[in-house]
């Protein structure tokens, strides 16, 4: 009898204890980083902490491989199978908002006031997504190379001008020590081209599309500034400064470390590995080609799916994840830039005097988000093809004009992508 009573007591107590868990409403989240052990571990920790921190919501994660993530989301949207919380690449966000995959975040933007601009996904005046990290590109070099070639070390306040940059490449080429003066990572013809190289175009004064209306690329991608950019771009390859589109992928990973290149245009995700292999590596700001020095901005962000029945719960999770301690944990884990100065101070790499602090400053001072338009996903592909063609010797003016025609035709066929 006593045993029965004891068991009954245990069952009742267990049931009572389980009530908060049972009351939690399930939220599903999709995330692009399947296979990224460190990033997944941090995200799983955040989810676990969030689920334990309150009794209203329970988030479950489904991870996808990054390369196919966007296709999976597009297919799920067609089939009406989207989750509550979506992970979205910053420049793709306007497309998903326009296509009806996302709804505006039910969070006041002021809550993210101190976040880097590139980590906030704003479309049509509304905040749709927030990133827990950002990425930046810099010119990797060795201090010893700069000293040997007698080059001034550029700074954010006084970056290299176009003439100084080309003089640096000339000096590296003339030294005969390197296979190429500059590595641009030309083999990677995915979104790298628009992320890494459109800032050069913007620094010349051009752009992928006319940002004042987002209704045409005319003048922006084939105007005087863009033509000058195109000719300069082609000269990098015809002049033998940089390997072309058939570059060995291995060289992008180890070429700079092995001393094949004097300079490398690369992202901060390669910075830690490079620092480990090259003692005197320095990360230099982008050159100023006349219209200011620019780099790309905007990485993966979290938003709420348009189909979510619990946007308030999804927003709660995003706010919870945006705490400095988690931003710092991501940064320490994957080496990317924390979005806030307070989180940066908590990290090993981005705190004041940290080895990668320069990237935070670069991101703050130089970053320009890619065109904020649903048409960017097409424009990025057109831009990539145009740059690859020019690198391979195509006529600059004709190629840029053709790219403009293609972008304008796409904008027109999509009714202007909702730009008013």
């Amino acid at each position: 009898m006593n045993l029965t009573k004891h068991l009954a007591g245990v069952v009742i107590a267990s049931t009572c204890l389980c009530v908060p868990a049972l009351a939690q409403t399930k939220l599903t989240m999709w995330y692009h980083g399947a296979g990224n052990e460190v990033e997944s571990r941090t995200l799983n920790q955040i989810v676990s902490d969030f689920n334990a921190s309150q009794s209203d919501w329970a988030v479950t994660i489904e991870s996808f491989p990054e390369k196919s993530y966007n296709d999976s989301v597009a297919a799920a949207a067609l089939a009406g199978n989207l989750p509550d919380i979506l992970d979205v690449d910053g420049p793709v966000m306007p497309n998903w908002a326009w296509a009806g995959y996302l709804q505006p975040l039910p969070i006041d933007e002021s809550e993210f006031a101190d976040f880097l601009p590139g980590t906030k996904g704003v479309w049509d005046g509304k905040l749709y997504s927030v990133g827990l990290w950002d990425a930046a590109v810099a010119l990797f070099a060795r201090q010893s190379t700069l000293d040997e070639l007698g080059l001034r070390t550029p700074t954010l306040d006084k970056p290299w001008s176009r003439e100084e940059f080309m003089a640096a490449l000339d000096a590296a080429k003339a030294s005969g020590k390197y296979e190429f003066a500059l590595d641009l990572g030309m083999n990677d013809q995915a979104e790298w081209y628009s992320y890494a190289f459109s800032p050069f175009l913007q620094s010349f004064g051009g752009d992928i599309v006319d940002r004042s209306t987002y209704k045409t690329a005319e003048g922006a991608l084939n105007g005087e500034a863009a033509q000058a950019f195109g000719k300069w771009w082609q000269s990098l390859f015809t002049g033998g400064y940089a390997p072309g589109t058939s570059e060995d992928p291995a060289d992008q990973q180890t070429g700079f470390i092995d001393g094949k290149f004097a300079f490398q245009w690369n992202g901060n995700w390669r910075a830690v590995a490079t620092m480990e292999a090259v003692d005197d590596v320095v990360f230099l700001p982008a050159p100023d080609f006349g219209a200011g020095n620019k780099i790309g901005a905007g990485s993966w962000q979290f938003g709420v799916s348009a189909k979510s029945k619990h946007p308030e719960g999804a927003a709660e999770f995003i706010k919870f994840a945006a705490q400095d301690k988690y931003l710092a944990a991501f940064s320490d884990g994957i080496g990317l830039i924390p979005p806030t100065p307070s989180a940066a101070k908590m990290t090993k790499n981005y705190k004041d005097g940290g080895p990668l602090a320069v990237f935070f400053d670069l991101s703050k001072a130089q970053a320009l988000v890619r065109p904020v338009t649903p048409g960017y996903v097409v424009q990025a592909k057109v831009f990539t093809k145009a740059l690859a063609d020019i690198a391979n010797g195509a006529d600059v003016a004709d190629t840029l004009d053709a790219a403009v025609d293609e972008i304008d035709a796409d904008i027109e066929s999509n009714g202007g992508y909702g730009h008013r």
Partner: protein, 291 residues
């Protein structure tokens, strides 16, 4: 030694030399993949510019294999692919051979027109019907242990059922069945055998080569599935090997782990092919069809 075109030994030597060179071209990627799977990334990348890439030299270890298993549920992906592929191949052999039997031996109105339509489906790329098919399967009902459910997404059946019947497999069986001696079928019917008995007692026991060919071709299609599972499976539990390959392409690609993963997922294909290769070659010789 002067070259003499009538020298049989020399001609044989040249012939084998050319054949060996061709064989090497085909086998080099596999050798590269397997050797690279044992090397650390730094050595793997450095070796790509020399013949060392094809040799198991340097810092050899199983670290990449351990890394691959840490990064992705490799066993689960292989199991899913083997399960989906195995079920589809078996069901396909049954359904397509039955359909082909009907086209080859039974007389029914509109038979030739229907066969023409079935064969015509060969010219339609899957990509063109992927989206309509996705919309269809996302709404289909299913009665299972949990009762009536709507939508087939995130299941094994959505990866199997749409792929069971296809024009190529039916066409292969029809062509093969038409080559069987008609007297055998007629004799069986005269002896009182039903059409079903003719199918499984007479026709199928004689169809080893075409069964092997159809099985291998279907196996390769199913094991290499990428687009379809990508759009109909959002849960890791049902993901096949090719979608799983994406786990290894991060901002910093771990090439050694990629090679280890590729080696691991190639093993079932090699086993399957080795198991059926004699029948496969016999079938190619008899039907002239190759994958």
């Amino acid at each position: 030694m002067a070259f003499n075109p009538d020298n049989y030994g020399l001609r044989l030597f040249v012939r084998y030399l050319v054949l060996c060179l061709i064989a090497l071209i085909f086998i080099f990627p596999l050798v590269f993949m397997i050797n690279s799977s044992f090397k650390p990334d730094s050595q793997l990348l450095a070796d790509t510019s020399s013949l060392r890439a094809f040799l198991p030299v340097g810092d050899i270890s199983l670290d990449n294999y351990f890394g691959a298993f840490r990064r992705a549920p490799v066993g689960l992906f292989v199991l899913n692919s083997v399960l989906v592929t195995g079920a589809t191949v078996l069901l396909s052999l049954l359904i397509c051979s039955l359909a082909a039997f009907s086209f080859a031996f039974l007389r029914w109105k509109g038979r030739d027109v229907v066969l023409s339509i079935v064969i015509a489906t060969l010219i339609i790329p899957f990509e063109t019907i992927a989206i309509p098919l996705l919309l269809l399967v996302s709404k289909l009902p299913w009665i299972g242990l949990e009762g009536l459910q709507w939508g087939w997404l995130n299941t094994y059946r959505v990866q199997i059922i749409p792929w069971i019947a296809d024009g190529l497999t039916i066409f292969l069986f029809v062509q093969y069945f038409k080559g069987l001696p008609g007297e055998l079928i007629e004799a069986s019917r005269v002896e009182g055998a039903s059409w079903w008995q003719v199918y499984y007692r007479v026709v199928m026991p004689l169809s080893g080569p075409v069964l092997a060919t159809a099985a291998i071709l279907k196996f390769l299609v199913m094991y290499n599935q990428y687009l379809w599972p990508l759009i109909v499976v959002q849960q890791e539990n049902y993901r096949p090997v090719m979608v799983g390959l994406g786990y290894f392409f991060q901002l910093n690609v771990a090439w050694g782990e990629v090679m280890a993963y590729l080696t691991l997922i190639t093993v079932p294909v090699l086993i399957f092919y080795l198991f059926l290769q004699r029948a496969f070659i016999a079938s190619i010789a008899s039907t002239g069809v190759k994958g």
